[in-house]
């Protein structure tokens, strides 16, 4: 019993030392906590697929009441802004090439007559496809506005599709993206932190001293892992607060479940980081190996593009990516209010990763002395 107390005591002492080493440097304190806040704000505003500003040019050969009314509806959205009124189609190319306008409308001379006669009235839309998502979304909105206007001119009404979006009524892309950042942003820094923690001691030669202390590799491992996990959880909390109170995205799930998930997720990330750390001899190596892992982890996580759009082979590969499951459960708990029964599966790969990486790191500590 007293052995247990001593061993817990020495682990606690090591954790204390690690935390002190981490926060005693003012530069570290800034580097560990300020970026989470800044990035949450920056990306919250910057990472959006929702159209807010579409500059366009128009060639209005019809110059009729109908074309004016149609353009007024477009301008009335507040999203479409007319940057130029052109005399001929030949002028369109220059404006689109230079990126001054996203799209150009060309309304033919017989637009009003055709509408009045009940014929089909074509409008040509030329889009800048350099960003195909924006172009597609803008075309879709113009289509809706045109259809509405046609109905007001007596066209037979099309079938109305009433959309109801669960968990995100206005389909704001920010709602999808921000909860994912709770997992994604903290993972990057904690991975790097864990990876550098042992590599730094290796490089400075203090790790060998640590190995000859009565501490077992498992105790050293816990001493190294706990501070990184704490930093990760604090970063996640900062991002969570920004999302909840600054961007006011409603939280539908249980905070307990969210944190239970975050602990397993951060644990899996730290396990990966410590394994990297144990494999590297210098800080340079630890950092580079971390970056080598971060990039695929981010790209294959569903942060930017959905996992189920990926080819089957890559979807299988994502099963060893903690971020894929981290993002999945944060989104589902935060937005969908999922309960444990809905997301228990996300815990399986995360716990499996912890169970593999942490002992692996401990083993590597002992067996890889340079």
């Amino acid at each position: 019993m007293s052995d247990l107390i001593t061993s817990v005591g020495s682990v606690l002492a090591l954790i204390r030392k690690e935390i002190l080493a981490l926060v005693k440097d003012p530069a570290n304190r800034v580097v560990l906590f300020a970026p989470a806040l800044m990035q949450a704000l920056l990306f919250g505003y910057g990472a959006t697929y929702d159209l807010t500003h579409v500059p366009y040019a128009v060639v209005d050969q019809s110059r009729s009441a109908a074309s004016t009314a149609f353009l007024a509806r477009l301008d009335g959205t507040g999203v479409f802004r007319r940057e130029a009124t052109l005399a001929s189609n030949a002028e369109i190319a220059g404006l689109i090439d230079s990126g001054e306008v996203l799209l150009a409308l060309s309304i033919p001379a017989d637009f009003e007559r055709r509408l009045t006669d009940g014929e089909e009235a074509p409008i040509q839309v030329i889009l800048d496809g350099r960003n195909s998502s924006t172009a597609g979304a803008a075309a879709g909105q113009i289509g809706t506005i045109a259809a509405d206007y046609a109905v007001s001119r007596g066209a037979s009404p099309p079938i109305t599709i009433e959309r109801r979006a669960w968990y995100n009524p206005n389909l704001e892309s920010r709602w999808t993206l921000m909860p994912a950042l709770i997992a994604a942003l903290s993972l990057m820094q904690t991975l790097l932190l864990a990876a550098l923690s042992v590599a730094r001691e290796r490089e400075q030669g203090t790790f060998d001293q640590l190995l000859v202390t009565p501490l077992t590799p498992m105790q050293i491992l816990i001493g190294k892992a706990v501070p990184s996990i704490l930093v990760g959880l604090i970063q996640s909390t900062i991002i969570l607060l920004v999302i909840r109170f600054w961007f006011q995205i409603p939280m539908n799930g249980s905070y307990w479940l969210l944190y239970l998930g975050l602990v397993s997720f951060t644990g899996a990330g730290v396990g990966l980081g410590l394994s990297i750390s144990a494999l590297s001899v210098t800080m340079q190596q630890a950092m580079l190996y971390t970056f080598i892992s971060i990039m695929p982890l981010t790209l294959l996580s569903g942060l930017l593009t959905p996992v189920h759009n990926m080819p089957e082979v890559l979807q299988v590969v994502t099963f060893i990516n903690p971020l894929r499951f981290g993002i999945d459960f944060v989104r589902r708990v935060y937005l969908e209010g999922a309960g444990f029964a809905d997301i228990w599966f996300d815990f399986v790969p995360l716990l499996a990763m912890m169970a593999v990486t942490l002992p692996l790191a401990a083993w590597l500590f002992r067996n890889r002395l340079s």
Binding site: A27, N28, V31, L42, G46, T48, Y49, H53, D97, G99, E120, I123, L127, D128, G129, R130, N131, S132, S133, T134, A135, G136, A137, A139, A146, A147, G154, A155, S156, P157, P158, I159, T160, I161, R163, A165, W166, N168, E172, W175, T176, M188, Q284, Q285, L288, Y289, F291, I294, M295, P296, T298, L299, P306, H308, N309, M310, P311, R331, R332, E336
Partner: protein, 375 residues
């Protein structure tokens, strides 16, 4: 012996030393050459916004022929895979279990309301993934409008009254998202080389005290700077060639602009990116802080704020200003234009001038950072 040849001799010696150091550590080559290749493949195959065969539950509460004909359009769409479901409750269960991405519900009174007016169809999507939700909404409404158009044509009720949009998407006719993601890859890889390979170079020498030893030699700051740049420039150039070859031949993304301009602009951005890494390294003098800052100041913004996936037109003005400060934003715009649109000289000149100005500024700052000064 003249000063000029001394410069040359010292520079060659330093470059040799840096190159050896670079080659000796496998992790450098892994990041420099293997990671870019892995990224190219991941990007090209892994990232896509193009939804295909999205499963959608269809609940037919009205089984009249007109309702059937209307939803028949869904099966014709290559993007949707409709599944017939008996009841709304069943469909919602499927959606909660993520078996389907959306529910199309044709209400009991559809045929009646269609005969007298517009007719309503309900679409339920999962907003937790707003991108997929919007895409599916677009496909469903497109498919239903098309089939109702066909029905009107067949009924002989005269050609569709109304406005038709004839859309033509320049530069990316098929609206393939890979075409706009792959050029951005060049930017990310160049950023990566700079940020990750060079950001520890000076900090490491400070930590080990070897930079101070260099100060007592005749070596000048500008020579240290050039020697730390040269080997990485070669690695970056190899990566650039890899990116261009893969984009063109593996992913069939067209390169419509001048290849010479692309190469020159990429080298310019590569220099900016390497210098930024060196500056971070020299300013922090601490490998831990340098690595964190390199990640936060160069790589993350290049991925999130440069216009790589998120269109800068949609972001608030403050974010636009911040984005304009990033060299990556200017290079991103230039690369997308050069790949897809062609050589648009106003953009080429503006972007290259900005990148060159950044290069000069960063070179000046980094050189000052390396001035022989102890504190």
């Amino acid at each position: 012996m003249s000063g000029g040849s001394g410069f040359h001799r010292r520079l060659v010696a330093l470059i040799r030393k840096e190159t050896r150091q670079l080659m000796r550590d496998r992790s450098n080559l892994l990041v420099g050459l293997i990671l870019p290749l892995a990224l190219i493949l991941l990007f090209g195959y892994g990232l896509s916004f193009d939804v295909e065969n999205a499963p959608v539950a269809v609940v037919m509460e009205d089984s009249s022929p007109i309702a059937r004909d209307t939803v028949a359009g869904l099966s014709g769409s290559p993007y949707l895979a409709p599944v017939m479901v008996g009841s709304m409750a069943e469909a919602e269960t499927l959606m909660r279990a993520k078996k389907v991405d959306g529910i199309v519900r044709v209400p009991v009174d559809f045929a009646v309301s269609r005969a007298t007016g517009s007719g309503h169809i309900q679409l339920v999507v999962n907003g937790a993934d707003s991108t997929t939700a919007s895409t599916i909404e677009g496909y469903v409404s497109g498919a239903i409008q098309t089939s109702s158009q066909h029905m009107a044509d067949r009924a002989g009720g005269g050609a569709g009254v109304g406005i038709t949009l004839i859309t033509r998407t320049w530069f990316n006719e098929a609206g393939n998202s890979r075409w706009y993601l792959v050029p951005g890859l060049l930017v990310l890889v160049m950023t990566l080389i700079g940020a990750f390979l060079t950001s520890l170079l000076i900090a490491r020498e400070w930590e080990r005290g070897t930079l101070e030893s260099l100060f007592v030699t005749p070596v000048r700051p500008s020579e240290i700077l050039l020697s730390k740049l040269a080997p990485y420039l070669v690695i970056g150039a190899i990566d650039m060639v890899m990116c261009l070859l893969c984009a063109r031949f593996l992913f069939d993304v067209p390169i419509r602009g001048s290849l010479v301009v692309i190469v020159i602009a990429s080298l310019l951005y590569l220099i900016v990116s390497l210098l930024l890494g060196l500056l971070i390294s020299g300013a922090t003098r601490n490998q831990f802080a340098a690595s964190q800052i390199a990640l936060l100041a160069s790589f993350m913004p290049a991925m999130m704020l440069s216009g790589f996936v998120f269109d800068l037109r949609n972001v608030p003005i403050v974010i636009q200003v911040i984005a304009q400060v990033l060299p990556a934003t200017h290079f991103m715009q230039l690369v997308k234009t050069l790949f897809l649109a062609g050589t648009v000289w106003p953009i080429v000149i503006k972007s290259c001038a900005i990148l060159a100005a950044y290069g000069a500024l960063l070179a000046f700052l980094t050189r000052r950072m390396l001035a022989k000064r102890l504190d």
